[in-house]
Each structure stands twice: as C-alpha cells, then as structure tokens.
C-alpha cells in the first residue's frame, strides 16, 4: 500500500477531526475558519508535491494521475473559497460551527478521493462520503425551507445512489470485475453484432448515466435543484453548484473515458445519449430560469443549463474518445471557468442577502449605487455565465464548442449558442435590477446603506472576479493546464 499518495486525503481527514475537537474548547469560532484553511493548504501542498508523480496507483483502487491532481486542486480551491465566503454567513446559526466546517472538509475529502478512484466500489464509497456530508449541510439552517430541501435532496439522492449501485452491479455481473481497466478489457471484446445478447451491459450503462446525471443536475434528473438551491444555506449552494457538479463530471469522464471509450460503436451510442441529454438540459434550464424571481432559484436553473453545456463536451468525447484530447480538456477548462464565476456570484449574493435579508431579484434595485464594487463583481461573474467576452465563460464555451464542431456536432453547437442568447435574458435581469431599475421612494433611506462584507469575502470576490477576467483575456495557461490534466486518464 502506497499510502504516501493519500497524504492530501489524510490531511483533510485530520483537519476535519481537529476542527470538531477544537470547536469544543474555543469561544472564538473564527479559529475554525483559519484551521480549515490551514488544512486545505496542507492538503494542497501535498497535492502539489505529487505534481510530477503522474500515474502511481494505490492497490489498484486509487490512482494519482494528472487528471486526479487537477481535480484535487480544483476541489481544494473550491472548498477554500466556500469556507472563506461562509465567514459572513455562519453567524446565522448559533451552534455547530465545528460540524459545519468539518462537513465541508469531509465532502471535499469525498471529492478528492472520487477524482482518483479507478474501481467501482471505491468510487461509490467516495461518492457517498460526499453526498452524505452535503445532505447534512443542506439542512443546516434548520428552518422549514432548509429542512425540506435537505430531505428532498436526501430522498432523491438515495434513489439515485440505488440506481447507480444497481448499474454498477449489472456491469460487474457482465464483466466480472469492478476495476475500470478490467471492465474496459471485457467490453472491448464485445462485437457490435452481439450487443443484443448483452442487454445487461446496456442497462448498466444506462443506469450509470442516470445516476451520474443526478449528481451533475442533468435533465431529466434535475427536479431537486430549484428547491434545494432555494432552501439550503447560500455558501452550501455555491459548494453544491460547483463542487458536486465538478465531482460528477470527474466521475463521468473517468468512468466513460476509461471503461467505455472503446469499442467505437458503444462510445457513439453513449455519446448520442449525452448529446440528447445536453440538449434537454440547456433548453429546460434556460427556459425555466426566465421566469424566476429568486436569485438562488435562478442560479439553480442556470446550473442545470451549464451542466447542459458541459454535457456537450461529454457528447464530443463519445463521438471521438481516443483521437481528440480537446473534448476532455475543454470540459476541464469549462469547469474551472464555471467554478470561478459561480463562486464569485454566490459570494456576492451572500454579502447582499445578509444585509437585505432577501434573495428576490427585485430587492436588488439600486445595488449599483449602494455597493458599486460588489455589484461590479457580480456583473462580471454573470457576464461570464452568459458566456460573453472578455470573461472566462466565453473562452470556455469557445473551446468546448470548438471541440464539438470538430467532431461533427455542429447541430448541437448551434442549439447551445442559441441557448446562450436565451440565458442572457435572465442573467441581465439581475444586472438590470442592480444598475438600471430605480429605487422606489419607500425604500429610499434603506437603499443608501452600505453593504458590509468581511475581509475573507472580499478576498473571494476579488480573486474570482480577477480570475474570471484573467482566464477570459489570457486563457493560455489554464488551457495548457487543462490539456496536461486530460492527458493521462485511464489505468
């Protein structure tokens, strides 16, 4: 057992335990934030130390390859941003600060393990570590809405886990192994003519698609999204929308690329299924978002649409899995850009809703005057989510759609770009409320009060906004990183 490769995960686990213990003894809960960040930094340093280690394995269950390293750093970064932007929010609950931070760290642990897992059981267990932590976090406010969202998320999540597990069982039954590489070898031997003799394999793959679809909020497995987004604590929504989604895509990429990349007829099949799911996701997400008055619900539907764009990348992968690196690296690049923009947007929303106690878009009126910099950050992040230059979202879409066009998915790209136009409509409604809509006279006095934001939140806002602009204007470094991370994936 090459446990040295698990140092980042062990660091996270130790920090989570330490946070719970320290919580018992200290009064100033700010310590917990500092402690969590230190733990994340240590895990990050350990990850960086393995940066060139590429391709070592722990007992065939866990692999440390470029892909896993990229995702580990991404998840650690996301967790750090979420914890920093929570500092303005945790005041809402009097107790359980330690548990809150520990659960975020444990969820992160699940994500980092999951990005390395090369075996179905390990993969499932890490997914459950992630999911259970997030179910608990969703209900943390303990008000009716938050509890409802937690219960809803858990029930549907349990069903999706069952579906996933059943799919894994079928695939195990068909191939006789839970190793992804073993599955790949077994699947490879199936001739396209004999596929109808193996309905179990197809059923298993279909169930995997459904199970993963739930995690990334793909249509038609997205029904939990709006309620959960509305009810859960805002930093957790940010975590969910970015972290869980990225984890889901890490899973999809790892499993489908490693196990089902060949034979070609099979990858074309699931590629086509993903193309259809992507189309549905973009249309359902964008059209439903148009009428939303609550910004968290709106971002919920937007995240469904964003998952749709990402699935365009997965479909590209299915069309040409082995020849093109561009499909894989484009998904990674998109996830990176999306994480920046969405975390920035949620950080701004936390600051605003803390002050005005509302998530309604109409209450954002006059925000441009009250908090110009904050509003500017939110505006830049929303523009990135639309996919307009000079923000990162544009480059991400350009790169992703470029891959799709190269692999014969022009029709899907045209649907996607037209969907971006629809999305501009509702994202700009938020922008309009902040900068254009006049404040009604009744709220005149309230509308002059400044929006306070802690130093930690400001750091998050500044880093995400500048990051969005940097990646949008000079994307080369991140693109190369994504290419590097896409190079080794199988094992």
């Amino acid at each position: 057992m090459n446990l040295i490769l698990l140092r980042p995960e062990l660091a996270l686990l130790a920090t989570a335990v330490a946070v719970i213990l320290v919580d018992l003894f200290v009064k100033r809960k700010g310590i917990l934030t500092v402690l969590s960040i230190i733990g994340l930094v240590i895990a990050g340093v350990y990850t960086l130390l393995m940066w060139d280690a590429g391709g070592q394995s722990v007992a065939g269950l866990i692999v440390v390859d470029n892909f896993a390293l990229f995702f580990k750093m991404l998840f650690l970064g996301i967790a750090a941003f979420v914890i920093l932007s929570s500092t303005d929010y945790v005041g809402k609950f009097s107790n359980f600060h330690g548990e809150y931070h520990a659960l975020i760290l444990l969820a992160t642990l699940g994500m980092t393990l999951l990005s390395s897992a090369t075996e179905l059981i390990t993969l499932y267990v890490s997914l459950e570590v992630l999911s259970l932590s997030v179910y608990a976090l969703t209900g943390f406010l303990k008000d009716p809405k938050s509890s409802e969202s937690s219960l809803k998320y858990m029930l549907l999540g349990a069903v999706s886990s069952a579906v996933l597990l059943y799919g894994m069982a079928l695939i195990f039954g068909f191939t006789g192994t839970t190793q992804l590489s073993g599955i790949a070898a077994a699947v490879d031997r199936v001739a396209s003519s004999s596929i109808l003799d193996n309905p179990g394999l197809l059923m298993g793959i279909a169930l995997l698609i459904a199970g993963f679809g739930f995690k990334v909020a793909a249509v038609p497995f997205q029904l939990w999204v709006p309620d959960v987004y509305e009810g859960a604590p805002t930093p957790i929504v940010g975590f969910l929308s970015v972290g869980s989604k990225a984890a889901g895509f890490a899973l999809i990429l790892r499993v489908f690329y490693t196990a089902f990349e060949t034979p070609e007829w099979l990858s074309l099949d699931w590629g086509t299924v993903y193309a259809v799911i992507a189309t549905l996701g973009m249309i359902v997400g964008n059209v439903s978002a148009i009428g939303q008055g609550n910004i968290k619900r709106l971002l919920g539907y937007s995240s469904i649409a964003q998952a749709g764009y990402l699935l365009v990348g997965v479909a590209t992968l299915g069309m040409a899995p082995s020849t093109e690196i561009i499909g894989r690296s484009a998904i990674l690049f998109f996830l990176f850009s999306y994480a920046l923009a969405n975390l920035g947007a949620f950080a701004a929303i936390i600051a605003i809703s803390n002050k005005i106690n509302s998530d309604e878009i109409k209450d954002y009126a006059g925000m441009g005057r009250r908090a110009p910099l904050l509003s500017l950050c939110l505006t830049v992040c929303l523009i990135s989510l639309i996919g307009m230059p000079p923000a990162a979202g544009f480059m991400a879409k350009f790169y992703l759609f470029n891959g799709a066009v190269q692999n014969g998915l022009l029709w899907l790209v045209i649907i996607a770009v037209l969907n971006s136009v629809v999305s501009a409509f509702y994202y700009l409604r938020v922008v309009k409320a902040m900068w254009v809509t006049p404040v009604d006279a009744a709220n005149e006095t309230a509308s002059l009060e400044k929006i306070p934001a802690s130093g930690a939140l400001r750091v998050v806002l500044a880093l995400t906004t500048l990051g969005v602009l940097y990646v949008g204007i000079a994307p080369d470094r991140v693109m190369n990183l994504a290419k590097w991370a896409a190079q080794i994936m199988g094992f």
Partner: protein, 492 residues
C-alpha cells in the same frame, strides 16, 4: 516605426474608461476632462495613421502581431488597410465627438463616460482586428456598454429597447460564433489575411461552405441591419441617448457592412456570387421598405433611424453587386452615412433638448429661434438625400453606378433602377421633415428654445466640414478605399 499605433488607438479609450470608473473622488469636471483627453489622444493617433498611411500599397499596414492563445492558434493580430482605416478614423472621430455631445450630461456622469469610452474602444478593435477570435471578442464587448447607455440614459421604452438590442445582437453573434468555429475547424486558422488569400472553399470539409457563409452572414446582417432582421434598430436608435444614437448609427452598424466585406466576401467569394440575387433582393427590399416607412414616421429620431435602414440597404446592394466600384461605393457610403447620420442624430438630440419636443406634427418654425441649428440640420439632411457637393451624393452615386455596371447576374440593372427610385424618396422625407421642424410660422410654445452655444457649434461644424470636404474632393478617401477593396473583391 516601432510604435504600436493601433494598440494605442484602441486601448487609450479603454484605459480612459478604467480610469474614469475606478479612480476615487473624481468630480464631473474631472470625468469630462479625462474623457476629452483620452478620446482626443486616440483621435490624434488615428489622424496620424491616416496621414502616414501609404495609399499606393495594397494590403495591410501598421500590422502588429503577437502570440495570444497558442492552444487554439489565436493571435493578437491588428492591422488596417484601405477598407478599415477610414472606418477606424471615423470611429475615433465620432468617439471624440460624442464626448462633446454629452458634455452637459448630469446623470451618473462617471458611468456614462466610462461606457462611452469602452464602446468606442470595442468598435475600434473590431475594425483593426485581423484574427477572427479577437474580432469576435471586440464585436461582443460592445454589447454591454450599449445596453447600459440605452437602459440608463435613454428615453421612452428604454428597458424594452435595450434588452431587444442585446437579444438581437447576441442572436446574430451566436450564429457568427458557430460560423467562426466551422471556419476554424475547416482551415485550422483564425488569421483573416491568410484565409482571404485562398478562400475557404479550397479546403475539404464535412461542412458545406454555403452553411459557413450564411452562419457568418446572419451575424453581420443583424448588425447592418438587413431586412427582415432590422426591427431592433428603430427602437434602439429612438430610445438611446443622443451620444448612444450617434455611436450606434455612426459607427456601430458599420461593423456589419465591414464584416460582410472582410469576412463573407473575401473568404467565400464563390458563395457570395452564387447567392447575390437573393442578397441583392434583400438589399432592394430594405431600401424601398426603409424609405417608405420613413415617410410615415412622426417621431424625429425614429424617422432618422428608419432612414438608416434604407441607407444600409444601399451598402448591402453595393457589397453584393461584387464590382470593385460598387464595393468601394458601399465602403464610402458607410463612412459618409456615419458622418451624416451621426450629425443628424446629434442635431435631432440638440433640437429635442432645446424645444422639449420630438413629435414632427407638433414641431414647427424653429428656424427663428435656432438659425444655426436649422442651417446645419439642413446640410446634414441634404447630404443624407444625396445632394451633390456632399459626401452623400458621392457615396450613393458611386455605389449605384458601380452596381449598375456590375455583371454579377443579368438583370441587376432593374434592381438598381428600383433602388435609385427609392433613393429619390429620401428627398421627400428629408425635405418634409426639415419643413415641418424649422419652417412655417414661429410657434409660441418654442419661444424658450435656444440656439447652439460655442461647444455645440464646434462639433456641428466639424461634421459639416468633413461632409463637404468628402463631397468636393472624394478621391481623398475613394483612392484609399479602392486600394483596400481591390484585393478583396473576387474577379468576375
């Protein structure tokens, strides 16, 4: 010549916008002074480029190139030729003028000037970019400033008009993005100059070139605008603030015509020829329909807006008549229309603010209170209807005669004759408008109206001088443009 003129021209206004937006404690005067200085510097450099430009050399000058995103072979590549240089100078000129025009702005001054400067920078970027991705990025950046200019400082149904503008523009650019991706997929290059040398048709591709052409064309057609994609234009022009209308009508919609020549024509010459009947039909419909609708308008700004639809139809006609003369005429028409309509909107805005009225049925007799305005407005109007000795005459004459002698398909003469008749309608609506606004008995309720002050006279006369200069001495521009057009127009 190591100095990067074009980068400086583009990024000075952008820098100005950032300074105005972020430097704390700026007051109204400081903001205006900064906007004035940054746009003036940009204009000065643009004029320098005009003077240094060698009009006997075809192809690109003042080129700058640097590696930008090697992963997708995109470069930071700028340059101007005889086609883009005049449009670039026009934009810098209008960018400076709109600072003067909005000198008296009092609402959210910092944001107003910051957006104006960012808008100018993005349009300049479009005219100077030689890399398709860079071109597209500048093309898209323009949307946000324009959205804010209309929705915050506009009038009437400003929120409706601004979002309509955004949705139409993004709709067009969605297709354009798909078109750029197909071109990139087919050729592996984003370099507009390299691509123009061979055209896209020589590359084998799974995607038909016709599809690529029309994906790109739709993007440009929304902006120009081409009938039936024009309906955003009257709303946006009418409800935008004066400075916004001037930029919109003067420089922004020229991006459409420029893109058609630079991309559609030079990359897909065969498709352009194949579909010229269709495109010229659309152009003539636009000319006739635009003119007819203009006649019926009762709102001063809306009237000028609709006349743009007609005038841009002339541009489309000239481009897809595919003759060297006709395309040169189309480019001249873009510059001339930029000056004339820019001035018309400036004058309309000024008249409106002075008389507090923009309904043509209620206005009247303003020549008494505003003699200078009346004269300048009349010159702009006469230029717009194509009176000799103004730039409007030169541009329309060259375009129509060039199209008439084009051999792109037999029977084009009939189309041109119909278009020429419609151009005569312009005389009708312009003269009628001038008569309704300025002549007739002076009216009691406009007694408070005042004439232009010194600042306003400066910008009015700057426009007039250029309009007459080009009208009297057209070869000043025509030679430059023709040298730029020649390599781009496919031989027939």
């Amino acid at each position: 010549m190591n100095f990067n003129y074009l980068s400086a021209i583009i990024f000075l206004p952008m820098l100005g916008a950032a300074v105005i937006a972020f430097v704390p404690g700026l007051k109204r005067n400081g903001v205006r002074a900064l906007a004035f200085l940054f746009t003036l510097a940009s204009l000065a450099l643009a004029i320098t480029v005009f003077v240094l430009f060698d009009q006997h050399v075809p192809g690109m000058q003042f080129e700058e190139s640097a590696s930008w995103i090697p992963a997708i072979s995109a470069n930071y590549h700028l340059g101007v030729d005889g086609l883009s240089m005049p449009l670039m100078v026009l934009t810098a000129f209008l960018g400076f003028m709109v600072v003067l025009i909005s000198w008296k702005e009092e609402v959210r001054v910092r944001e107003h000037f910051a957006w104006l400067l960012l808008l100018e920078a993005s349009i300049l970027g479009v005219f100077c970019s030689l890399d398709l991705l860079l071109f597209f990025i500048f093309w898209e950046i323009e949307v946000i400033p324009m959205y804010f200019l209309i929705s915050v400082w506009g009038a009437g149904r400003k929120e409706y008009s601004s979002i309509k503008y955004v949705i139409y523009t993004l709709f067009g650019s969605a297709f354009m993005l798909a078109g750029i991706l197909t071109v990139y997929f087919t050729t592996g290059s984003l370099n507009m100059i390299d691509l123009a040398k061979t055209g896209v048709a020589v590359y084998a591709s799974a995607i038909p070139v016709t599809a690529m052409f029309f994906l790109l064309f739709i993007g440009f057609a929304v902006k120009l605008p081409v009938f039936p994609l024009h309906t955003w234009l009257p709303d946006a022009h009418t409800d935008a603030p004066t400075a916004g209308s001037v930029m919109l009508a003067g420089a922004l919609i020229k991006m459409g015509g420029y893109g058609m020549i630079r991309v559609c024509l030079s990359l897909f010459p065969d498709v352009a020829r194949q579909y010229s009947v269709l495109l010229i039909t659309l152009a003539v419909i636009g000319i006739v329909y635009g003119a007819a609708v203009t006649l019926r308008q009762t709102d001063l700004k809306r009237m000028i807006a609709y006349s743009s639809v007609s005038h841009m139809g002339v541009v489309l006609l000239g481009i897809f008549a595919l003759g060297e003369v006709s395309v040169t005429g189309a480019a001249l028409q873009m510059v001339s229309h930029g000056l004339l309509t820019g001035l018309l909107f400036a004058m309309a805005g000024f008249t409106m603010h002075s008389a507090h009225e923009r309904d043509l049925r209620k206005l009247g007799g303003l020549a008494r209170q505003m003699p200078i305005t009346a004269v300048v407005f009349s010159i702009a109007g006469l230029g717009s209807l194509g009176l000799p000795l103004t730039s409007g005459f030169v541009a329309e004459f060259v375009t129509l005669s060039g199209s008439f002698s084009s051999t792109v398909f037999s029977g084009i003469h009939i189309f041109v004759i119909v278009a020429a008749i419609a151009v005569v309608l312009a005389a009708g609506y312009i003269l009628w408008m001038l008569q309704r606004v300025f002549y007739g008995p002076p009216q009691e309720q406009f007694a408070h109206a005042h004439d232009a002050d010194a600042m306003e006279r400066v910008y009015m006369f700057s426009f007039v001088v250029l309009i007459i200069l080009i009208g009297v001495y057209p070869s000043l521009l025509a030679n430059i443009i023709r040298m730029g057009i020649a390599p781009l127009v496919p031989p027939i």
